[in-house]
């Protein structure tokens, strides 16, 4: 954000973006569920150039114990970038950005996960960004929802996320790295698709009220599309397992 655009054109004369997408197109998304053996639930997500792995552990005993809540499970969320996920090596360990993202992502899931079913326990969500290409917090939260489902944690809904931004003066969906670096705004958002409730919401950049609302509605539509893909991925996974089960019976 902030106009460090050294004369780079992000839209061509036909209004196409640098990877050929139209303004309102998502990047290709691939979801795999149940990919790790040690975690209670897991999901792997490719979203454009992003590669994201999410794992869920729990419900399990709370450590340290004094953090336990007698009314509900404690939710932990850790967003972490691998050192090799970006061009310049990222120093290992949490930085301020990761800590903030972890906080607002945990907030977004807090009332979706039925924590009241598991008092005095904790549910840990770990997301590793293996390759980063803008929009990682949305990809991470989307993958985390699938991992929670895979872990069999009861949820009120399946959280889906997407971002919108502004490039070369136009509002556009789902920015990639170069668009994010040289673009004019970023608005990541996560929703509960059943209700349309907004669970995670941030914006930075310079936007008029009109552009702001256009971004908001565009990101909402994007998140809904992502939600459909999540449902399909879960259904496919479920179908295969069910078929497998039927095979056994035959």
């Amino acid at each position: 954000m902030g106009g460090h655009n050294p004369g780079i054109k992000l839209l061509d004369k036909d209004g196409k973006r640098i990877d050929g997408r139209g303004l309102y197109d998502l990047r290709p998304i691939k979801m795999e569920i149940g990919v790790l053996k040690k975690a209670d639930g897991s999901a792997y997500l490719e979203w454009g150039g992003n590669k994201v792995m999410a794992a869920v552990y729990g419900p399990k005993p709370v450590m340290p114990r004094h953090l336990a809540n007698p009314y509900k499970a404690v939710l932990m969320y850790r967003y972490n970038m691998a050192p090799f996920s970006v061009d310049d090596r990222k120093r290992p360990g949490p930085d301020r950005r990761s800590i903030e993202i972890s906080k607002i992502s945990r907030d977004a899931l807090e009332r979706i996960v039925m924590t009241e079913y598991f008092p005095n326990t904790m549910i840990e969500i770990f997301v590793e960004i293996l390759q980063a290409d803008a929009g990682t917090r949305c990809a991470a939260l989307t993958a985390a929802s699938l991992a929670l489902a895979d872990a069999g944690i009861p949820m009120r809904d399946l959280v889906a996320a997407c971002a919108a931004g502004k490039i070369d003066g136009k509002v556009a969906l789902d920015l990639k790295k170069e668009e994010d670096n040289y673009g004019e705004s970023d608005m990541p958002l996560a929703i509960s698709p059943r209700t349309g409730d907004i669970l995670l919401f941030q914006m930075d950049g310079l936007l008029t009220k009109e552009e702001y609302l256009e971004s908001l509605h565009l990101a909402l539509e994007g998140a809904k599309k992502v939600s459909e893909m999540q449902k399909k991925a879960l259904k496919d996974k479920y179908k295969i397992e069910t078929l497998g089960g039927e095979d056994d019976k035959v």
Partner: protein, 269 residues
């Protein structure tokens, strides 16, 4: 008070806040969209290049702007550097603890920082000394003295006031001469932040601590004096609706102009 008593007391308070909200009322009898009384003291401390104390009701924040010289970032070789830091020192609240910044103070610093950075408040090009080699570093340090809710608005206001009154010292022969001024801080835009709390379906501006802790969700919107929104941040476990965001944008511009006027008056004195 034990931790258990503390939690009991807190549940009672939270119930009270919610019951009032259902009747459209607030704990301190304020109007739904009224700020608490605001006091701004520019140049509150004089060691740094600029400073301000802001009192918003019982919330007190000091911002100090310190100038140093460093190496510009490789991708912006001809620009100064902005760094924002916040300390929730344990003096300010029974719930703040000594130690390195926790997620709350990091979020606080980053939300204030984003308003100022994305709003392009400082003309960073004017803070270049020698492109690629040397540039001014602007440190904004937020120090909370008394914490009764809504740090974001009070902190952003303190930071903006401190920037408005800050002077850039002289730099000669590889040395900073703090006693002499080379120019005023180059300010391009006036940015303030307005924070809403949502308690059940009741939206209020400038929540006090009891409201903030009871709230389902929080939304902060940073506005500029030339009609832009330059940052937003939702917090809290509860949801917000699209139409609520639309309503809060209009209010944020209105309240933003109010805050900017108070700040301008305080600086003029």
């Amino acid at each position: 008070m034990t931790k258990f008593e503390d939690e009991m007391l807190w549940n009672i308070k939270s119930d009270y806040v919610h019951r009032l909200a259902q009747q459209g009322l607030r704990v301190d009898e304020r109007g739904q969209f009224d700020y608490r009384p605001i006091e701004i003291i520019p140049d509150y401390v004089t060691r740094p290049a600029g400073s301000a104390m802001v009192r918003m009701g019982n919330t007190t924040v000091i911002a100090g702007v310190t100038m140093d010289v460093g190496t510009p970032f490789p991708d912006t070789p001809d620009e100064g550097i902005l760094i924002t830091n916040a300390e929730l020192v344990p003096l300010a609240s029974p719930n703040f603890e000594p130690g390195p910044p926790d997620e709350d103070s990091i979020e606080f610093a980053r939300v204030v920082d984003r308003g100022i950075r994305e709003g392009q408040v400082i003309d960073l090009n004017k803070l270049s000394i020698e492109p690629g080699e040397k540039a001014w570093m602007v440190f904004i340090d937020l120090h909370v003295l008394d914490y009764d809710g809504n740090l974001f608005d009070a902190g952003a206001l303190a930071a903006m006031t401190a920037l408005n009154v800050a002077k850039v010292p002289k730099y000669e022969d590889e040395k900073i001469i703090r006693e002499e001024v080379s120019m005023n801080m180059p300010i391009k835009r006036q940015v303030v932040e307005t924070t809403f709390a949502k308690i059940d379906d009741f939206l209020v501006v400038d929540p006090v601590l009891d409201e903030e802790k009871s709230a389902d969700a929080r939304l902060t919107i940073a506005t500029t004096d030339d009609g832009y929104i330059c940052a937003s941040q939702k917090g809290g476990p509860g949801p917000i609706k699209v139409d609520e965001i639309e309503q809060m944008i209009d209010l944020a511009f209105e309240k933003g102009d109010y805050l900017r006027k108070i700040m301008k008056d305080a600086i003029k004195k």
